[in-house]
């Protein structure tokens, strides 16, 4: 029986990260899909950075940012009494940055596919922008939301480098599955490493199959 601690921490981290990114990534993706601003390429590049940066680089900068000497770090210490680094909250912040492109890019693509036209039609029917978002854009982009959420969730579960830098390895708080596997291997406990690794492998495969199957279905015209 493997230790359930890392699994629970991992699931909690992935769930919270996905929910928070849904809330914060949607307006960003919306803006990127519809803006005519000349700053769009810059914002797009920043959003995509976590895809190409080594997780250690991201983790390093976050660690620096989390230090109580910085504005964010000291603010966090005053409010919660503990530091962001090596805490679950710090992991959530790090995961959100790390998984940002996996939320924003599918959503942006989905909104771009919806286009301005249905929103204009909604406006002429008396729908204010918020109304039009929830009644027209969001349902039409439903599959984008699903893909983005599943990918974000899965990607967060698989992170390692950033967690190692920012979270350390505190059982029940910051020890996630990938770190646990690393430690099992370090201590030559291959049996435990096998169980967790196989679990992650099967889970990742299942998630990807689900995403591709969803995207294969004929576009829209849902019943």
């Amino acid at each position: 029986m493997p230790d359930l601690g890392p699994i629970l921490v991992t699931l909690a981290l992935a769930t919270i990260t996905t929910l928070l990114l849904l809330i914060m990534g949607t307006p960003l993706a919306w803006w990127l899909a519809y803006t005519r601003s000349r700053f769009k390429p810059v914002i797009e590049a920043i959003t995509a950075l976590p895809l190409v940066l080594p997780p250690t680089v991201l983790g390093f900068y976050l660690l620096v940012l989390f230090s109580p000497n910085t504005l964010l770090g000291s603010f966090w210490v005053t409010v919660t009494g503990s530091t962001l680094a090596f805490s679950f909250a710090g992991l959530v912040v790090a995961s959100m940055l790390y998984s940002l492109p996996f939320m924003v890019q599918p959503l942006q693509t989905a909104f771009e596919a919806v286009g301005r036209e249905p929103l204009e039609a909604a406006a002429t029917l008396g729908a204010a922008p918020q109304d039009a978002f929830f009644s027209v854009a969001a349902p039409m982009a439903f599959r984008g939301f699903l893909t983005a959420s599943v990918l974000t969730f899965a990607h967060t579960i698989g992170e390692f480098g950033v967690v190692l830098m920012v979270g350390g390895n505190i059982p029940g708080r910051t020890r996630v599955i990938s770190i646990a596997i690393y430690e099992h291997v370090e201590t030559l406990n291959y049996a435990e490493a096998h169980v967790l690794s196989a679990g992650l492998l099967i889970f990742s495969f299942a998630v990807l199959v689900a995403v591709y199957a969803l995207n294969r279905r004929s576009p829209l015209n849902v019943g």
């Binding site: 249905p118 909604a122 406006a123 002429t124 029917l125 008396g126 729908a127 204010a128 039409m140 829209l220």
Partner: protein, 377 residues
Amino acid sequence: MWDDPVLSLDIRIGIAAFELAVEHELPLAGITALFGHSGSGKTTLLRILAGLERGAEGSIAFNGEVWQATAPQKVFVPTELRNVGYVFQDARLFPHMTVAGNLTYAEQRARRRGNAIDSATVYARFGLKPLMDRHPATLSGGERQRVAIARALLTKPRLLLMDEPLSALDARRKAEILPYISRLPTDFGVPVVYVTHSVDEVAYLADTMVVLSEGSKLAAGPVAETLARLDLGPATGRFEAGVLLEATVVQHDKLYHLTELALGGAALFVPLIDAAPGTGIRLRVRARDVVLAIRRPVEISSCNILSGKILEIVEEPQTAFAETLVEVEGGRLRARLTRQAVADLNLHGGAEVYAMIKSISLAGGVSTVARAVDVDG
């Protein structure tokens, strides 16, 4: 004295290399056509009226209510608060809803604004009952536009804007939907601004028209008057150019299946139409369907010959053609002749001529006539 309600606009917009600048007062009654060739700016103008083009400068006032202004202070009433209906060229029904869903969407939002509407009348008028459970993707082009028009009406708009709603349809579907559109102002009390590049549609539907060319207003006025203007040249169509005539049904000839119409004091014959004597009828006669003769032609098959006087001849340099305006009893005809014919027959302003009409289209006015009927002479 109350002035008739108008939509006054004075707007400018630049999109890439294209400039649109129009100042006009649109009557808020009947159907007004915004007419022009593609690239004339007619759709852009319609979008500005709906508030869909944010980049427009200038002012728009709906019967005194300011929708948009740059000075003295910036005003912009967003689309959803203008309470106008908009029928897009491509219908733009929501693909994730059924027909019923699309219609309820409009109804709910109208009701929230306190615009109670009699949806049953709209459903019945547009024959929507059998379509209710269908998805937009499964509808034909004509069905889609019917739903789109009904959906726009359900918002109880103060003004209905229509952007070439028939351009994607074939001739039969067009003929099916035209009568629905022509009756909108009387049946639902909503003034219509109708964008089109088809002279036929203008003749069938519109009371007044605004001619746009390369982003500016070329002419505006009652349709019959404007279509008879020769000075607009290609803007009102070369091949499709023609006039509107108002005639009255006199009697029917059941034997030969003809209906006699009175145009002023003259008689015209068209294939039997289903309208009682005394009914007013709108006729459209194309310039290319009128032949002029100096003496009354005899022993020819054409049955519609009117005597008249030439008012104006405009020769089109660099082409073979000349446009002629002929005054006949009860109206004016345009005839498209070759410049050689003008010279050979020695045609000039004031000359007495006989106009043979090869083809007449009914351009509305008879409720039972669902399509334009051509009569060949």
